[in-house]
Amino acid sequence: MTLLEGLTPVAPTGLFTVAWLMIAIPLLSAGLLLVLGKMTNSFGHYVATLAPIASFAIAAVLFADLLGRPEAQRTVDASLYTWVKTGSWTIDVGFLIDPLSILFALLITGVGSLIHVYSIGYMAHDPGRRRFFAYLNLFIAAMLTLVLADNYAVLFVGWEGVGLASYLLISFWQHKPTAATAGKKAFVVNRVGDLGLTMAIFTMLAMFGSSSFTAVNEGAQHLTPTWATLLGLLLLLGACGKSAQVPLQSWLLDAMEGPTPVSALIHAATMVTAGVYLVVRSHAVYAETPAASLAVAIVGTVTLLAGAWIGTSKDDIKKVLAGSTMSQIGYMMLAAGIGPVAYPFAIFHLLTHGFFKANMFLGAGSVMHGMHDDVNMRHYGALAKPMKITYYTFLMGYLAIIGTPFFSGFYSKDSIIEAAWEKQPVLGALALIAAGITAFYMTRLMIMTFWSRERWQEGVHPHESPAVMWVPLVLLAIPSVVAGMVMNSWIGGWLAPAVGGEVPEHASWVPTITPVGLVTLAVVIAGVAVSYLVFGRKAIPAEVPYTRNILTIAGRHDLYGDAFNEAVFMAPGQALTKAVVAIDEGVVDGAVRGSGTLTVGLGAGLRTLQNGYVRSYGLTMIVGVIIVGLALVIGRLV
């Protein structure tokens, strides 16, 4: 099988032996910043920014090395040391550098570096800047651990590590109760997903005696169908949590409480796509179980619709983008669920999305920077003029996400829709519709933010952000435009060995014209047009307009995801907690105290015999003597 060939790792040589430095550098930097504390206040952010750049450099060199290798030798397994060894299980801390993980590493360190630079400007006046950069570095380290790990257990370390970093960063402004709550929610919901991943790892250990990708890939074909499906579903649960897929989507919108660079890095470009990575990484498992694959595809489709739906009705610019992120990840999941054909597309879209969404989030941050941290789009309008660079870079992202031909999103998204259309027509159709909705809500965002008339609040004077912020925007806008063209011809072949996919036939930067592609384009144009008709022709009200539109109301309430969680999990959970506490104090400890009270009562009863009268004691003694004597006499008699 060609599928397995690529996964026979070769031993590391040269720079590959120090691949772990990619992780160690940011980790060390984070540790220094946190441990040394205020001492590093003045220069900490520079150190922290250099760390991911250094990692990026290493990743780039490794990437170049891999490019120069023959296909069979592109998978390098650099084992560091034995982490856990117990019984028959051995789990090594090892890093797998293969075509898939190196792309991720580049994305993470590349986008991460840009966002670090951006944050220097964005967080310039925040008293907690040092801490912020430390957390960002921690995140980079964890995320790299996640994607570079050569086994699921180490992957899980990174998986939870990014969860922690995400928690810390979402609730970075912890003095705001909403931020603290959002952070906690993100962590807890993620933990639910992690439950799936841990159980998947348990299954692997129980089934294969190992959690390494190699062993799992080899062993997967021996799985019984039931276990294969279960394993697939458990992995999906993990992916849902991290990637904010229905039903574990609710945390992502709240996560926008965090500083905007965080939203860009973690909640758009990198961490939330970890679920897609997980599914693609586990391709061997899904190859054995059509049912679980279908479940992945369905979850993806439902999320992509739900995210788009939410995106249409929000006024908070970051929440629109968050909804859009959900939706785009839904596309990736859909692709991952379709099977080997679409795995490269999932990763492809992941990368392009990483660029354009990070670009847009940072753009949104730039807008907020100019608008006194106001996130309500109803207070924006006509920002194209005062914020030229932000506007143009954002426009690139916009064109990319809606799938304008020759922009990056066009290649990746269309491929997914086409692949879906071929394998799962129903899901394909839904994905197609969602493409229209995407165009609709993104156009709405553009209209409300950059075009239309100004609705600025009093005292707000929009201005362009400093260079340290717009340079990253420009640097991200470039791949948003060209990444598709550059990679379209290449990525399928590059990834095929790592993800077990087949090399696609049509692979050139010139898009092949297919009926589905044309229809998609038409739907997108229709979406833009409808949006213009609805929002572009009349003034946008500065207040939230009253509506009877059920769809809009549901969208504004995040499709009642929180209400559902509240009703189904929180309320019964709180009741259960209260019940347990009451039982503990009343019944369990009550029984203990009851036995104590009983003893005390018995003692109180018996102590009345101690009435203090010597004569009474004497009588007791005599009775005792009689009893003992009687016993002796009877003993003698018998």
Partner: protein
């Protein structure tokens, strides 16, 4: 003479001593009851000394007397002390040994 007569007599005296010890409240009388019991035991010692033809019983009886004398001396002085402190020789008044 049959020793069992003496035994019965001793038992009767002992029982009277017990009852006196239990029902009387005057510490002195209680004390006397105790003496009565001791004496009844002495009677038994003497009786059994004769039964077995062994003087050890009488020696025991002698020891009992010595101990009783010592006990009476100390006991009576305690009673006197209690009387001084409480102006009463009733055993019921000294009822602090309780819960």
């Amino acid at each position: 003479m049959n020793p069992s007569y003496y035994v019965i007599l001793a038992a009767i005296l002992f029982t009277i001593g017990i009852v006196g010890f239990l029902v009387r409240k005057n510490a002195l009388v209680v004390f006397m009851s105790v003496e009565l019991m001791l004496n009844s035991c002495n009677l038994l010692f003497v009786t059994f000394s004769r039964v077995w033809g062994n003087l050890a019983g009488q020696a025991m009886s002698f020891f009992v007397m010595v101990v009783a004398a010592a006990e009476v001396v100390v006991g009576l002085s305690i009673i006197v002390m209690i009387y001084r402190a409480r102006r009463s020789a009733s055993v019921d008044n000294a009822s602090l040994l309780k819960f």
